[in-house]
Amino acid sequence: MNAVLQYTVQGLAAGSFYALAALGLAVIFGVLGVVNFAHGAFYMLGAVAAAVLLDTVGMSLWLALIVVPLLMLVFGMLVERLLVQWLLPLDPLYNLLLTFGLTLLLVDLVKRRYGVSGLPYERPDVLSGRIQVAGVGLPIYQLFVIGVALLVCLGVWLLMTRTRVGMIVRAATERPELAGALGINVGRWVTPVFGFGVALAGLAGVLAAPFRAITAEMGSDFIIILFAVVVIGGLGSIVGAVAGGFLVGLVEAFGQAYAPTFAQVLIFVLMAVVVLARPAGLFGREEATA
């Protein structure tokens, strides 16, 4: 029982990284129709930025959690304005190739500048250690990650359902032609939405910095799992991305506990089952024409 509690926390913590990053991926896919292959690299940049800011100006994790996503927002908007937007009218494959190329470029630049062994990161003492729950020591940092992820997901959900901006973005995501026909300037929201998605990947990166190896390659495998997450949750579905993220995290943790050799395979088995049973994903909408 104690072990199950531990595995659940570990799974939810791993799922938090997936949920945050997948949320960004889903928003970008929803509004732009772009499968952003560079999302793993943006996650990596978030972690590297946090480590570099700590090393050079002594920026704490608390501040980095706000500053780095803002930097990534600006960076994402620049990427959209300078690169992505020119390929939007063409087949989505072009943007997939562009973002894939961007990944290679960013990973190599980081390797060149910061080497391949990774960067050190020290977290605030408050977040170290464990608290005892039902006789089990649960790492405070993992609980913190889960808390932040849930808060941000809740915030994004409120933003999407309770504000005018969210309504426009949702309309643009779900029925872009109809939204356009009703006089909503969908194009205006493309750049900030792309930046917002990138900022979420960056935030996941900052959260990962104290807990995982900060290397140029850290996003390379992350992005593969992330694609599985959005496929399971339903491409373009915001709730699906979050639910898919936590679900995949749990499958990973319990897989590691009870079938260690198959832990990663299980994720893709889950994906295959979901695609067979519900091709649009758990929370995706079936389209009559699809």
């Binding site: 072990a3 531990q6 595995y7 570990q10 799974g11 913590a13 791993a14 896919f29 129709g33 499968v35 292959f37 087949d91 989505p92 494959l93 997939l96 190739l97 894939f100 290679l104 190599d108 390797k111 080497g115 391949v116 062994s117 990774g118 960067l119 050190p120 020290e122 170290s128 464990r130 020591g137 790492p139 940092y141 993992q142 872009p176 032609e177 104290p210 807990f211 995982r212 190896a213 290397t215 390659e217 850290m218 495998d221 694609f227 491409l235 373009g236 990973e252 943790a253 319990f254 590691q256 506990a257 260690p260 050799t261 832990a263 990663q264 649009a280 995706g284 389209e287 024409t289 699809a290």
Partner: protein, 415 residues
């Protein structure tokens, strides 16, 4: 709108992209003459851009150049050869690329010797080329004992470390010092499986037992549950066979698990000082591992490390020092043989007792070409004990050369 369908097409395409992405290869610029030219060419073949770049990589070229400088300074006008070049190539840790590059280096660039070659599969591929072409090859960066075992050959020498030496150092010594009950966590590929086998043998020989082994995917960034599982068996020590980024992930999550406070130690199978440097001593404090050489061992090693620091801005790993020593011993052999003929040089090297900055009580074993020397059991210092940059290790035991490596009788090598 067919966003969903294009997305499916997109994922098929990106799978293709992933497959082809790993295949590009950059070639070194042509240089060097043919083999009969009046010059010696040393070729460095290693990982210039991937996970082992910081362990050895381009800085090993600097180390080899330092050996050439030292040779020329020592012999001056008496040197049997004036023109000595060093060239390098990136094998990207791929055996097929290593294979092609080795042929290129030997045939087209006139390399008289190939040095380094991390990644066991790549290392074995190059050994085959050395054998076929009858050219010298000194491996520093790879761990496989096959190089001096079943797949040994006349032209291949193995420097620095191997899996037997790591397992013997960490497994046996830690067990004998009281940590008898082990759990092993390892990445599920050739190196990890080899290491688990070697460690299990060493631990049992030391009177300990391996309570369980856990295989993990490679690469992996989430070890929390694996660690909880290993800890649940209440071992005295957890041994990890991970390297690079995986090792850092594992150590960070071990520190979070609370096992350290419970008195469950962490022993690392393969670790380089560059790993400690990148993650910081706080994270690794107390970790025990076997080291082939340490820059701050004594005056002699320190002096060389100072020169290396001046050239590169970093302190050397034992792979850098091993490349220096291998290049130097090769040039010494060229000097006494008076030729770059491989057979003559092998004759010079075999059975030679050597003592240099890297090799302490060293001997180039004639029987299996294992280069043996003293190795060290090290413990990572705590932050308070660190007196300067890169001052990370406390040497807790010197393992004498004769005990540090696999005995000839067990090697299974016949030349």
């Amino acid at each position: 709108m067919n966003k969903r369908r294009t997305a499916a097409g997109a994922s098929i395409l990106m799978a293709g992209v992933l497959v082809t992405a790993g295949c590009g290869a950059g070639g070194p610029s042509a240089g060097g003459g043919d083999f009969t030219d009046d010059k010696v060419v040393l070729a460095l073949l290693n990982d210039a851009s991937g996970v082992y770049k910081d362990v050895s990589g381009p800085n090993s070229k600097v180390a080899i150049q330092m050996a050439i400088d030292d040779y020329q300074e020592k012999y001056g006008d008496d040197a049997v050869v004036e023109d000595i070049e060093v060239t390098s190539a990136d094998h990207q840790n791929e055996p097929d690329i290593a294979n092609t590059k080795a042929q290129e280096l030997y045939d087209r660039e006139g390399a008289d010797i190939i040095l380094d070659v991390p990644t066991s599969s790549a290392a074995l591929a190059v050994a085959t080329q050395a054998k076929n072409k009858k050219k010298l090859y000194m491996n520093i960066g790879a761990g496989t004992t096959e190089l001096t075992g079943a797949q040994c050959n006349k032209y291949t020498f193995h420097y620095a470390y191997d899996t037997w030496m790591l397992a013997n150092g960490t497994g046996t010594v830690v067990t004998e010092e009281g940590d008898k009950n082990w759990q092993l966590i390892y990445p599920d590929y050739a190196f990890g499986q080899d290491m688990v086998k070697s460690f299990t043998g060493a631990i049992e020989a030391g009177g300990g037992k391996v309570g369980g082994t856990i295989a993990t995917p490679f690469p992996n960034d989430n070890f929390a549950t694996y660690i909880t599982k290993a800890g649940a068996a209440n071992p005295q020590v957890i041994g990890t066979m991970h390297a690079g980024g995986d090792l850092i992930n594992l150590v960070k999550q071990y520190n979070d698990s609370g096992l350290k406070e419970k008195g469950i130690d962490l022993a690392v199978g393969l670790m380089f000082i560059s790993d400690i440097h990148s993650l910081g001593v706080e994270a690794f404090e107390g970790t025990i591992f076997t080291d082939a050489w340490y820059w701050n061992l004594d005056e002699k090693s320190r002096e060389w490390a100072d020169r290396f620091l001046e050239e590169t801005g970093d302190r050397p790993t034992y792979a850098h020092a091993g490349n220096y020593s291998a290049a130097l011993q090769y040039l010494e052999a060229v000097q006494s043989a008076g030729t770059d003929d491989a057979d003559a040089i092998v004759e010079e090297l075999e059975g030679k007792k050597v003592d240099d900055m890297f090799l302490r009580n060293g001997e180039i074993r004639a029987e299996d070409h294992r280069v043996i020397h003293d190795v060290y059991l090290a413990r990572v210092k705590g932050p308070d004990a660190v007196e300067e940059d890169w001052d990370y290790e406390e040497i807790i035991k010197t393992i004498p050369a004769e005990e540090a490596f696999r005995p000839v009788a067990e090697s299974g090598c016949s030349m």
